[in-house]
Symmetry: D3
Amino acid sequence: MTAALDALRTITTGTITTILLKKGIRRCWMAGAMPFGFSGKRVVGPAFTLRFVPVREDLATPASWSNPISTRSAIEDMPEGCIVVADAMGVTSAGIFGDILCMRMVKRGVSALITDGVMRDKHGIMGTGLSIWCAGVAAPASVNQLTFVGWNESIACGGCAIFPGDIIVADDDGAVVIPQALVDFVASEGAEHELLESWLVQEVEKGEKLPGLYPPNEDNKKRYEDWKKKR
Amino acid sequence: MTAALDALRTITTGTITTILLKKGIRRCWMAGAMPFGFSGKRVVGPAFTLRFVPVREDLATPASWSNPISTRSAIEDMPEGCIVVADAMGVTSAGIFGDILCMRMVKRGVSALITDGVMRDKHGIMGTGLSIWCAGVAAPASVNQLTFVGWNESIACGGCAIFPGDIIVADDDGAVVIPQALVDFVASEGAEHELLESWLVQEVEKGEKLPGLYPPNEDNKKRYEDWKKKR
Amino acid sequence: MTAALDALRTITTGTITTILLKKGIRRCWMAGAMPFGFSGKRVVGPAFTLRFVPVREDLATPASWSNPISTRSAIEDMPEGCIVVADAMGVTSAGIFGDILCMRMVKRGVSALITDGVMRDKHGIMGTGLSIWCAGVAAPASVNQLTFVGWNESIACGGCAIFPGDIIVADDDGAVVIPQALVDFVASEGAEHELLESWLVQEVEKGEKLPGLYPPNEDNKKRYEDWKKKR
Amino acid sequence: MTAALDALRTITTGTITTILLKKGIRRCWMAGAMPFGFSGKRVVGPAFTLRFVPVREDLATPASWSNPISTRSAIEDMPEGCIVVADAMGVTSAGIFGDILCMRMVKRGVSALITDGVMRDKHGIMGTGLSIWCAGVAAPASVNQLTFVGWNESIACGGCAIFPGDIIVADDDGAVVIPQALVDFVASEGAEHELLESWLVQEVEKGEKLPGLYPPNEDNKKRYEDWKKKR
Amino acid sequence: MTAALDALRTITTGTITTILLKKGIRRCWMAGAMPFGFSGKRVVGPAFTLRFVPVREDLATPASWSNPISTRSAIEDMPEGCIVVADAMGVTSAGIFGDILCMRMVKRGVSALITDGVMRDKHGIMGTGLSIWCAGVAAPASVNQLTFVGWNESIACGGCAIFPGDIIVADDDGAVVIPQALVDFVASEGAEHELLESWLVQEVEKGEKLPGLYPPNEDNKKRYEDWKKKR
Amino acid sequence: MTAALDALRTITTGTITTILLKKGIRRCWMAGAMPFGFSGKRVVGPAFTLRFVPVREDLATPASWSNPISTRSAIEDMPEGCIVVADAMGVTSAGIFGDILCMRMVKRGVSALITDGVMRDKHGIMGTGLSIWCAGVAAPASVNQLTFVGWNESIACGGCAIFPGDIIVADDDGAVVIPQALVDFVASEGAEHELLESWLVQEVEKGEKLPGLYPPNEDNKKRYEDWKKKR
């Protein structure tokens, strides 16, 4: 899989969604999870999941923060290079993490944090350098609205199902999930698709009309194949 | 706890929410879960939870329906007298169960099914006699939109956190969850609250004005205490 | 205005919205406020407004229920024949009134209660006989989500502005507000409109085609005028 | 196709969605379109589409109601037995039709009216006897919020694409659309599916457990085949 | 109309909405369509419309991309200087166009693309230099959620009705539509309004109070007229 | 209170929400009100409230703009140093203020404007230098959707209740409200909380694990106290 992951580093999330559609998969782009305070970054890695449910006021006590089931314990379990995907149920009025927890994730070698919820302490978390895809910021802490219940479980995030070990790719168009069994297929088809698109851009740049070109008809398929050989 | 559960059978969901608020709990009423095709029923029992995440098209195959993790296996694990609470993420365009699964739940002695999602096969499920609180009906099956991932886990339902073993009460005003540790408190305070409300109704019926009566001032507290003794 | 109010008792809310549109008024039907547990009732009367804002937890104490600004005081200020319109900000997870307060409104001669929010204690409030247009029921009391802040102020309800003294009409199609200055206009135009519609129904019943009939062309206008004279 | 349409009259919308999923079609159930004031009705027929866009105030004049492009002209073009599907963009605050237009549709032999919007004049339209699937009622007329722009065009309705001539089936679980090219497939597979479900209901009624039964394993497939032969 | 279009180049969208309100038009600003990756641009031109409906999985095949009804054909029909307005039904999880189609629109001289949906391939489309007003980006292509059905039809966009040939103006406050028949009125009234506002800004800058100034009373109207003469 | 207000200038909105939660207050962060066109600003001050209800077309006339109840009169009543909080009911399609009114607020010494609605004339208002927290921009004026009804009343804003004189704090994580009675508590607890967080950041920076550190166990509490003494 390492070769496939390397290949995915040069394939856009847009192309990945197109390739997955060939396999009948439409639910792969996580609504709400957009780049936070940066542009141009790309990340690829296996999903490490976090799960929240709504808050219940009798459980959201200071004592609970030292529970064995806590975001703190989850973070200490994150392997280097993983991409954390947090199911915040799309809640946008409580930030799931601030600077201290983000800083610890960086120390542990986490590649990125992706959530359909929001963050808090905007300046602090930007200072940690963690790559984050989220739906914005809010001042209240997660306990204002959410209860953390576990990690490495199947979760929902932005309308997608995410299973531990699925491969996540994120760039400026957002974050997508690739089922483990399809990673090789996406990597090889995706590379070809990127090549075709680069040829199409050249042709349109030259003034070619779209019908017959994109998607290519027989003539244009041949021209494309010729171009590929000459590269 | 049996005595407390019995007491809860005569306490309305409205009163329960008022008593829980005294303990700072506001998140106890499940939005979306309303009585389905009946009126006047009341149920009380421990929660047995089901959890769904969004569908992923590569997993929603006929083969998957025979998985060890399936709604079928979950149903065979349901104890008599439990109240099933299903986290359908509020999805209203795919019915989580139809007549066959509801019929089996009845056979197993399930007290009620409660969900923030919807059902399918309206006539069939009404024919099974299962007590259901839900957000309506839809023709598509759960696999159209949802993937079942487990049972007896902590879940979200209608904006509430539900933990296995929490006590659920449902009537025509909807369904509420009582944390296990507060069941005795709610049962005893609730009984007193219902008694006060019955006296208040009498007083208003006689033409009493509301200020000073509800909530009662010192004079009216005394009148109420006298009434209680004479009953 | 009494004659106009009497005339409005025979004019549907649908017709009223059509007449108001002639004056450029589109915001007159209150979204969410639908008949609660009955069908066929009609009410007409001046608006008595109630206003809620979101709950703030430091103010939602038992002590607050005895405040001079409370729903209890507001109810004692309601004049006979008024129609209470409550701005609940469209909140559907806390019931603004239960049986005791509804019963007192009935005692004071209130014609109807209209809200973009919900009620609680479904069976109790239906027992009081109060005519209610609302968005459903919920078990929690208003203090779970809302703070009452005043009466006879301008309010929002279901996307409409309501000013104290505006005339409210409600039937099975919902509730509408008529600005005071337009009551006479709506009453007279509305009566004529209802007459035209009754003639149109007869014509369609006979098998007439719609184009040229509804709205009537010159020929059909003449036929309608002849029919009016002969009645 | 007549035979297929006849077969569809005994197949539930629930079963149809399951059969369409085998062909990869998930977008076939129209959100919002539910039975209006009746239960137990079933309709089958080809779609006749209506399309609305938002209102523009300069066009919503009385003069416009006599335009060649009007709902009146569309109705006169409706063939007997068609099922009218109206794209109201899910708007729930303006009723697209009242009693007069519904009465005319009945005269023309329309089988049913289906919309993701709402109706107006609840009592009047129920009196016409037209079968309606919609999202409720509102007092204002369509011109309050919507402009009618054409008929027999491709439309959106409740999250589905509807093309003129698609086959529509509606029952108490809502309304579904079957692409013309798949009607025969759905009719034959659906009949078999209904038969299997009736056998499953019997088995569960006898006390059979679900795993291995639904979906059936090899043993149960054989038992089902035996049962089919003996019928 | 050319003179009017030129005049509109110096009138803000804010002023245009104010002038249109004088004619009773409130539905003229397209919700969701905001400047994409730039600030300070202004465009004016006639609308060229595109229409999408929800995806249907049997039609979203590679073969369909070569249909005579495709976005490719629509683009080849776009006249120089037009403003493309795309009805994406407010869908924010599938990008309607990427770099290749945007590049072709630039080649054809399209002035701007406006949609209530989203784009894909953020960096690619910004590289083309096309002026875009939209609701953001998403990785999936339009076929993930939408089906293209036609061009130069009446459409909905962001809560407005758009008819081919309406005049569109867009700036940093968003995009507005001017009915063709009102273009001259808006242009002349708008110019006067901008002048008044520039005088008002000066007066407030000097420390004048608002009541009596904005809107101006008789004294201030005179002062404004004097100022106009002296300019 | 002056000392408390000064202390609040160094306490983040995030910390304030955490301290308020200790008093059971969760509703203190205003959804929708985010920094407009700047970063890094902080404001603290007493709330001056404005209230809007939906537009009613018969009242939205030019004559009304000279009413004694108008935004113009409200602005002339604003005290120096206040923070204006405007209840726009979360409406995002009409801008409540443009450059002229914002400029006048600056002249009157208003510290900031906070709303759950939107602004208009983006460039003009940024030119005034007023600090604004809002939900974006729209071209139409407030009269397109809203009617102004009063100032210094209790209001709703972004899901919070705001009472005149409450203390408002806003920074890049949004805007929060502190009940007057809790200002001293929040100021003193908040300062201690900020100090603890700065120590925690150092510890995590050194590579400390989270469990036992945050929240601190007995050992870490002692280390923190030692650190405090040595500062």
